[in-house]
């Protein structure tokens, strides 16, 4: 195995169709911007890239087949290189990073571009794209009608029952996240919100409110990765990929993803996310208490409370106390989502796994300005996607 490093990263600021940030830009334009930035940051020219690992989108570009990597190559200039288009719902960006990492680690290619971008349709994400009685997602939506936010709200309600979490505490996660976003020039929202404002926002799915759930956004992210041996030609301070892992859901997961599951014998929440993160710890010999900060998939603020406990970053039932003591802020003991997270960016679904790599890289280089985690040495990133997909990556300096 070759050691893999991140050489350069780039983002297009996130926004909403028609606004002053992304306007009417196509997904190809957004990706172009992010890739140009990443190449420049890496000091690499497009012609030097040996392969592309791209997140497949269901919503934009890709010729309707998720061929988003091919769109990028055509736009930048066809050099004949291999393109891998990876589909894993909202975990696709993380998946693309894992494949890029694996190609370099396995010695197949030395210099790989990882990219993900989205132009999202308005409103709640339609989880089932087919009218087919054999599709469990179709059955769940037709017979029950359980949109994504209700899935998260069910988990949040259960946490309120198990640990006594209050709606105010969940709102405080958003307050913390939006405070971070003030110093992130790439976030869609860059304004702090007060606890009262969060609590005054309407329920999307009780007990979760509008400001506690990430909207959909347009945006793009790119990363240039290469072998450590090759990196010496470009930089003296590469960021090392300590591990990258992918996992899928277990049979005994706590929450049915279609209509029904066997009742599990114990607590088995988010089995895909936990498996990916545990694998990333194991591969890197880095433990949860070695992590300087975490970028996790906060489709809703609930995850900022649940995930750190499930991964051993803190004790079960301790997350609310750490949040209220300021320990999950960038300057705290267990910083979570110093970028501002999905709640501040909105979700450009397939870009998110790569967006996290960009934030980890900036943090580890000490380039994160007002949201900088002081002395950040090791960062953890995690994504989740439809189909029971999850990814994790650990970067270190």
């Amino acid at each position: 195995m070759q050691e893999v490093v991140v050489l350069g990263v780039g983002l297009h600021r996130f926004g909403k169709t028609g606004d002053g940030v992304v306007g009417e830009k196509s997904v190809t334009e957004l990706c172009r911007h992010a890739v140009d930035r990443a190449l420049k940051d890496a000091g690499v020219s497009w012609k030097q890239i040996q392969a592309v690992a791209a997140a497949s989108s269901r919503f934009s570009g890709g010729k309707g087949w998720g061929l988003n990597g091919n769109d990028v190559v055509e736009d930048l200039g066809c050099t004949g290189i291999p393109v891998y288009n990876l589909s894993a719902g909202c975990a696709a960006g993380g998946n693309a990073f894992n494949i890029g990492y694996s190609l370099v680690a396995g010695g197949i290619h030395d210099l790989v571009l990882v990219v993900g971008g989205e132009v999202m349709p308005k409103g709640m994400i339609q989880t089932s794209g087919v009218e087919d009685a054999n599709d469990p997602e179709f059955l769940r939506q037709r017979c029950v009608g359980m949109p994504g936010p209700s899935f998260w709200a069910t988990l949040a309600r259960r946490r309120m029952f198990d640990y006594g979490t209050t709606e105010e505490q969940m709102a405080k996660v958003t307050v913390k996240a939006r405070k971070c976003s003030e110093s992130n020039p790439y976030a869609r929202f860059q304004k702090a919100v007060s606890l009262d404002e969060v609590l005054a926002s309407p329920y999307v799915s009780n007990p979760l409110r509008l400001f506690e759930i990430c909207p959909v956004s347009n945006g793009a992210a790119a990363a240039v990765i290469c072998s450590k041996a090759m990196a010496r030609r470009f930089t003296s301070q590469p960021i090392t990929v300590a591990s990258s892992a992918v996992a899928t859901i277990r049979f005994d997961d706590a929450l049915p993803r279609s209509l029904a599951n066997p009742v599990p014998s114990g607590a088995s929440f988010h089995t895909e996310a936990k498996a990916a993160v545990m694998k990333a710890f194991e591969m890197s010999s880095i433990g949860p208490r070695d992590i300087s900060f975490t970028e996790l998939q906060d489709n809703t603020c609930y995850y900022e409370l649940a995930f750190p406990e499930e991964w051993g970053l803190c004790e079960p039932g301790e997350a609310e106390r750490l949040l209220e003591a300021g320990e999950t802020a960038p300057t705290g003991r267990m910083p979570i989502n110093p970028s501002g997270g999905f709640v501040s960016f909105g979700e450009a679904t397939t870009a998110m796994g790569v967006f996290q790599i960009a934030e980890l890289t900036w943090q580890l280089r000490g380039q994160s300005g007002g949201r900088q985690v002081p002395g950040a040495k090791v960062g953890l990133a995690q994504t989740n996607g439809l189909g029971g997909n999850a990814t994790a990556a650990i970067l270190k300096r």
Partner: protein
């Protein structure tokens, strides 16, 4: 006036002989399935032996949420949209099952006993389309 009732998806459940949801069960490992599974999906099961298995009855509310806004297609609902509670119930037959709650949010309590019922969820072409719901006992 009696309106024609029709299941929102054919074959999943019936109400002629009381509420019955049509699932399956693996007789080797006792894993219940709904909807029917063609074979056992339990990775720890030695030999898949699937038999049809219908169930009704009730269970205990494990958690719940509210659809405060109309879900996107392919969900169908009567307009104007009325928010409803979605329950996740640990059924007595060993299934953790998702379904709409017949009762409102104020009445919800995790751990409450519920019972299955078949009720209409939307109307179209002069028919009432039905699904299973949970009723608090």
């Amino acid at each position: 006036m009696s309106q024609q009732r029709e299941p929102a998806v054919a074959g999943l459940f019936s109400e002629e002989d009381g509420v019955r949801l049509h699932g399956a069960k693996c007789t080797t490992c006792n894993t219940p399935y709904f909807p029917k599974a063609a074979h056992c999906r339990n990775p720890d099961c030695d030999e898949s032996k699937i038999e049809p298995c219908s169930f009704g009855g009730g269970g205990v509310l494990w958690s719940y949420s509210v659809a405060d806004f109309p879900p996107p297609a392919p969900h169908k609902y009567d307009k104007p949209f009325v928010p409803y509670v979605i329950g996740v119930v640990d059924m007595d037959n060993g299934l953790r099952l998702v379904g709409q709650m017949a009762d409102g949010l104020e009445a919800m309590r995790i751990g409450a006993r519920v019972e299955l019922a078949i009720e209409s969820i939307y109307h179209e072409a002069g028919k009432a389309f039905t699904s299973w719901k949970f009723k608090l006992l």
